[in-house]
């Protein structure tokens, strides 16, 4: 591994960042737009992996199609399966069943995971298969230029809701909790430290773990709502977020437009691949 990495740009030789070792450095810089939340998620994820001391050799990353999917694929230096749009959780199911010893991580967007791939999300959570899914929710189809997504807030204009969105957004984290996952939380790119802790937790959970990460798309989404700076979103996340325990005491009207953050579910249901293996045990000769 090269240790004096030069990020193209200023002629200054930078001291390599501690977490750069986790990245495919030869393809940096990333293609994310300036101010995009994907960088924060990548940073937080790499930090969590580093702190847990997980060897990337023991991980497999499975992604879909969209800006958020690029966080691990190609940037994270690990085995990466960059799949068809909406299907990463289903591909990851095959990987995990065959190699339960590997940590399987899916990172993809709201359109990918909750839209076109919503059915796979529900059923993977129901099976409670051991994998960690980070859904980067930027409230739109970022990569394709800012179309409405299943998580776009009500009443917001997008490139395909020019007269404002008349659909209600999906609460993906609550859905996954109801479907049977062992661990579910929601955080935002404003809440970097709790997010990092939550990623660590999710990576350690045996069973399906899901984090919905609200993440800014100041370009495709921001252009339609006049939030063109990352800070516009971070302030919004800060001001509109309500912790889970506080939210419990609030009425539906009070919660309107709020972002409930924190841990939504933690439990210990039987994990799917372990159950499959127990069936095979029955036929193994002693």
């Amino acid at each position: 591994m090269k240790d004096d990495v030069i990020i193209p740009g200023p002629e200054k030789r930078l001291k390599p960042h501690r977490l750069l070792k986790f990245l495919r450095q030869e393809i940096l810089p990333t293609t994310f737009c300036p101010g995009c939340g994907c960088g924060t998620v990548l940073n937080g994820f790499a930090q969590a992996v580093d702190e847990l001391g997980i060897d990337p050799k023991d991980m497999v990353f499975v992604t879909g199609i969209g800006c958020s999917s690029w966080i691990p694929s190609p940037y994270f230096k690990g085995d990466t399966l960059h799949t068809t749009h909406g299907r990463p959780i289903a591909f990851a199911t095959g990987v995990k069943i065959m190699r339960p010893d590997l940590k399987v991580v899916v990172i993809a967007g709201d359109g990918d995971i909750a839209g076109i791939g919503g059915n796979h999300l529900i059923h993977a959570a129901r099976r409670n298969i051991d994998m960690t899914v980070l859904m980067v929710n930027n409230w739109n189809y970022g990569m394709t230029g800012g179309q409405v997504s299943p998580t776009t807030p009500f009443g917001v204009p997008t490139t395909t809701t020019p007269y404002d969105n008349v659909e209600h957004p999906l609460e993906a984290a609550e859905l996954v909790a109801a479907a049977g996952a062992n661990y579910v939380s929601r955080w935002t790119t404003y809440h970097v430290f709790p997010l990092m802790e939550s990623i660590q937790k999710a990576l350690q959970v045996d069973g399906f773990s899901f984090i919905e990460i609200l993440s800014q798309c100041p370009v495709s989404y921001g252009k339609m709502v006049d939030m063109r700076k990352a800070s516009d979103f971070l302030k919004f996340y800060r001001d509109q977020s309500v912790r889970v325990h506080k939210a419990k005491a609030m009425s539906a009207e009070e919660l309107e437009g709020k972002i409930v953050v924190g841990k939504l579910m933690e439990r210990e249901r039987t994990e799917f691949t372990a159950s499959l293996r127990r069936i095979n045990e029955r036929f193994r000769k002693g």
Binding site: V60, K77, D79, H82, F91, M98, F283, K285
Partner: protein
């Protein structure tokens, strides 16, 4: 002895009375299949049922997914994690799989997809057989590509061609489609099982460290997840290293041309037919799958009546056995193509000969009868002016 060997030992040299679907499932087990993901659909569900029962006994894994998109997704994921994997479906599910078939082509993922064809379009006559997916198998996914597809005509062949499908998938690092039809899938016939060692199994060719996994040679070796190679697998256009490059014209051209050529160039090796030719034949009957059965009966009957007819059965549908078709065309004056669709392969045959091609289509969920095909043979024969004695 492995768990698989000892389980399959219970079948060796035995003759059982099985459905085509069941025989195909056992073929997969002999071939070394250790992962199956699927979604129920008539007339393919019996394959899943056998796999769910047998896979745990050979230390393999069965999972029923939420749909066919997920089924092929899981299969491809399992392959990169080291599995030999298969799914099985019928028309509606096969349609849903098309995007991921292209993904398997582009990522050079060896896997087997069984399509037990039924009457369509759409839910059509859901429980009735057809051969309407032969062109979908060839062209169903978007973009330029080549595909391998085989079509069994008997229950024994369901077993054998499933084994062959797994081997071709590994040999050419590509998805292989076993184009069964509802007639054969639900036909019950005797099938004789070989011993485990009698079955040739193509092992996956794994790469040495530092070799490219997506180029550098016509069929590059593979590597698997979890070996510390940090493989990058993508359905987007990529360089030999696997890294995406969707901008450079030459990179795309080189990749897609290689993917096509690795199969097209091996046409002679892959393309397999059964032919039964007779001296003086002026008529040829070209067929495949279930339709080959009444077609063979009609050819034999016509010969008994003094009409010399050549018989050519395609075992490989794709890549198309062009050479065998051209040879037949050189021998005869007209070619009859009975098939359970409105003339899909007949049209392909026309590309390789200027002879008059007589499609003999039949749809509606009922197979051709011997008499129908015989009648067509005899009327062509009288048009050609040959005396039938």
């Amino acid at each position: 002895m492995t768990q698989r060997q000892s389980r399959l030992k219970e079948f060796e040299n035995r003759t059982l009375f099985l459905l085509g679907d069941e025989a195909a499932a056992y073929g997969a087990l002999y071939a070394g299949c250790d992962f199956f993901a699927g979604y129920p659909i008539t007339p393919a569900s019996e394959i899943a049922e056998v796999m769910s029962r047998e896979l745990p006994r050979v230390d393999g894994y069965y999972v029923q997914m939420e749909d066919e998109l997920a089924s092929l997704s899981a299969v491809i994921g399992a392959v990169w994690a080291g599995g030999k994997a298969m799914t099985a479906t019928s028309g509606p599910g096969f349609s849903l799989m098309q995007e991921n078939i292209g993904y398997a082509v582009m990522t050079e993922t060896p896997c087997v997809i069984i399509d037990v064809q039924r009457s369509g379009p759409s839910t059509g006559q859901a429980t009735k057989p057809a051969q309407g997916d032969v062109l979908q198998a060839r062209w169903g996914t978007h973009g330029d590509h080549e595909i391998i597809a085989l079509a069994p005509s008997s229950v024994q062949e369901c077993f054998e061609l499933t084994v062959a499908s797994f081997n071709l998938a590994e040999q050419y690092r590509t998805p292989v489609i076993l184009l069964m039809d509802g007639e054969i899938g639900h036909l019950r016939e005797s099938v004789t099982f070989p011993t485990f060692d009698e079955v040739a199994r193509e092992e996956r060719r794994l790469a040495e460290p530092d070799t490219d996994l997506f180029g550098g040679e016509p069929i590059p070796p593979m590597s698997l997840f979890g070996e510390g190679r940090f493989i990058h697998v993508t359905g987007s256009t990529h360089k030999a290293s696997g890294m995406r490059d969707v901008q450079t014209q030459a990179v795309h051209e080189e990749l897609v041309t290689r993917l096509c050529q690795k199969i097209a160039d091996a046409r002679a090796e892959i393309a397999s037919v059964e032919q039964d030719l007779v001296d003086g034949a002026r008529i040829g009957v070209l067929t495949y799958g279930a339709t080959a059965r009444p077609a063979r009966g009609a050819v034999l009957e016509a010969r008994r009546m003094g009409c010399a007819v050549d018989f050519l059965r395609l075992i490989t549908i794709w890549p198309f056995p062009e050479e065998a078709v051209k040879r037949l065309a050189e021998r005869v004056e007209t070619i009859l193509v009975p098939e359970m669709n409105l003339g899909q392969i007949a049209r392909e045959v026309e590309r390789f000969t200027s002879l008059p091609i007589l499609p003999l289509p039949k749809i509606g969920g009922v197979a051709h009868t011997v008499d129908e095909i015989l009648e067509a043979i005899l009327s062509s024969s009288s048009e050609l002016g040959s005396a039938v004695g």
